[in-house]
């Protein structure tokens, strides 16, 4: 949610100038024939205006943004309603029950989901809203019945099976590499527990963390399966230990739990990186639309 910001006279001038510029650019594009003077051209102009209006909030909350935001919500709502009618309500319910195509029988079984759907809508009433619980109970029951065995089979059993893989596979070098990695890892846990946590020379832990990091990086670059198996196993176990709250995280549990935190942080970092890429892709897409489809100043390569 955007905090309310004071609108100054300068802001009104800026928004007015932006709108005037939009009008001038569009007239120029139409006059020079860069945009066709038809529905397609109009669509591109509206889309360009809405894109700029949406991104204008990055400067400041403003009337242009508010306007396009409301247009977007209204159009989306109307469009969804139309799609629901066109794709679901008419072909799947009304047509199948009451006006089937020639040769098809009336499918009266569909009255049951129709009634359940109507019961769900009763939720809007304070007086008889309780009726919707029957539909929710049905949905919950069916969903749980479908999901639980499938999740057990595809997620829990299969994932557990593949978490515990032989860490010593591949060439002799790979096996030796993984063995050294595992040895360093165990040494780190033991030393963290017995020495580093109490010693004033805690920086000594970096003598193990640095080679472990370099080995992980190298193993990832060359795609070493044995190392991957070790990391998956250690990662899963240490994160599970971190989320195990029934015992206090001290003694030998503390370094393992700490390692779990590192694994989680790396995972969050990867998610964050991917999210940035996704958001930037959308922005690049919009920018390409403005420069290529609207202004026509950009080639596709």
């Amino acid at each position: 949610m955007i905090a309310h910001e004071e609108t100054s006279r300068t802001d009104y001038f800026v928004w007015g100038a932006v709108i005037a510029l939009l009008v001038i650019v569009n007239v120029g594009l139409l006059a020079t024939g860069r945009l066709p003077a038809n529905w397609e051209g109009l669509g591109i102009m509206i889309a360009a205006g809405i894109t700029i209006g949406m991104y204008s909030v990055l400067y400041k909350d403003n009337v242009l943004f508010k306007a396009v935001e409301h247009v977007f919500i209204g159009v989306s709502g109307g469009y969804m309603l139309f799609l629901q009618w066109h794709n679901v309500f008419w072909p799947e319910i009304i047509q199948k029950i009451f006006v089937p195509e020639p040769g098809d029988p009336h499918d009266f079984w569909r009255i049951i989901p129709l009634v359940l759907g109507i019961l769900m809508v009763m939720r809007v009433s304070k007086k008889i809203g309780w009726i919707s619980r029957y539909t929710f109970a049905w949905v919950m029951g069916v969903s749980a019945g479908l999901a639980i065995p499938k999740y057990m089979e595809s997620i829990i059993i299969k994932q557990t099976r593949y978490t515990v893989q032989n860490p010593f596979v591949g060439e002799t070098f790979d096996i030796a590499f993984s063995a050294v990695f595992l040895g360093l890892l165990v040494s780190y846990i033991v030393l963290e527990w017995l020495v580093f946590s109490t010693s004033r020379k805690s920086w000594l832990r970096w003598l193990l963390i640095v080679p472990l990091t370099i080995m992980t990086y190298y193993g990832t670059i060359v795609g070493m399966l044995s190392l991957s198996n070790v990391i998956v196993l250690v990662g899963v176990l240490s994160v599970l230990v971190y989320f195990f709250f029934s015992i206090e995280h001290k003694g030998p549990i503390a370094p393992v739990s700490k390692m779990g935190v590192y694994f989680l942080m790396i995972s969050f970092g990867a998610s964050f990186g991917y999210t940035i890429m996704a958001r930037m892709s959308l922005f690049i897409g919009r920018l390409e639309f403005l420069l290529q489809d609207w202004l026509g100043v950009l080639s596709s390569h």
């Binding site: 794709n87 499938k150 595809s154 890429m277 920018l287």
Partner: protein
């Protein structure tokens, strides 16, 4: 250095950052330059599987499970997959489980099919949208015809040569979902184990990390993650298009953000050091 300077920089107006991101994207998009794009094993696996399906004249199902909001990220991906499939002679059947994505999917399919001069009905077909998501996936596995009995223009799929003998998902040589939602995960959970078929996933960057566990187990055989995945795919199959072009501004903005993170951390530690220095001076 005075602490006021670091404080000022740490509280810099975020609009400067927006402006720098905008300028970096613009410059990188306007000035062409080449970047090394190395296809990873998951990308190669998907491309190789599609090529093998095409070489034996097999059938590929593409589930276009995304809506216009994520089209800039996933359109290049789905087009690259279709181009690769058509180029090697695979027959492509399209469906969508995203209600808002129906027109988008059909338009993209038609566009690429016309580009390769493919004939509707024998080389490609689009069966449109069905509501229900997971139930549609299960339905496609159990009885494909009862789930998609007609194509998007109302023709009975038994009258279409390409889909005449399709009874289940396992009748496809390869199934690929291009998705911005949980479709990949749900295909794995509800259908892959039971109906025994090979699945590939092309997903947005946001959900890409969720898919990696399924690669390790072999439940997903090929995977494209975000625009980078699409660019790697384009590069591997030798058909560079919008994804590869989009990676230029993408890389520029990533480099800028890394600099921001480094600069922010540097300022943070510098500010902490200056605060301690000022405190010690005050005590003295």
């Amino acid at each position: 250095m005075q602490r006021a300077t670091t404080q000022k920089l740490l509280q810099m107006d975020r609009r400067w950052i927006f402006l720098m991101v905008f300028v970096s994207i613009l410059v990188a998009r306007l000035i062409p330059f080449d970047l090394p794009i190395d296809p990873g094993p998951n990308v190669r696996a998907m491309a190789d599987t599609i090529r093998e399906v095409g070489e034996k004249g097999g059938r590929l199902l593409i589930s276009f499970d995304y809506e216009p909001g994520t089209a800039p990220e996933l359109d290049p991906m789905s087009k690259a997959i279709m181009r690769h499939a058509f180029k090697h002679g695979a027959k492509v059947v399209g469906v969508t489980l995203a209600q808002n994505g129906q027109d988008l999917a059909e338009r993209n399919m038609r566009f690429v099919a016309e580009e390769y001069g493919k004939e509707y009905g024998t080389e490609w077909a689009f069966l449109g949208y069905k509501p229900g998501f997971v139930t549609v996936m299960i339905g496609m596995g159990q009885d494909f015809y009862s789930t998609f009995s007609k194509d998007s223009e109302g023709r009975d799929i038994r009258s279409i040569p390409l889909t005449r003998d399709v009874h289940s998902l396992s009748d496809f040589d390869y199934v690929v979902t291009v998705t911005s939602n949980k479709a990949c995960e749900d295909y794995v959970i509800y259908t892959v184990e039971k109906y025994k078929y090979t699945l590939g996933c092309g997903v947005t960057g946001v959900i890409a990390p969720d898919i990696f566990p399924f690669i390790q187990t072999g439940q997903v055989n090929g995977f494209l993650g975000g625009l980078a995945g699409a660019a790697e795919f384009e590069n591997y199959v030798g058909e560079t298009d919008r994804a590869a072009v989009g990676m230029r501004p993408q890389s520029a903005v990533h480099a800028l953000l890394v600099l921001f993170v480094l600069f922010g951390n540097l300022l943070f530690f510098l500010d902490r050091y200056l605060a301690r220095r000022d405190r010690l001076r005050g005590q003295a």
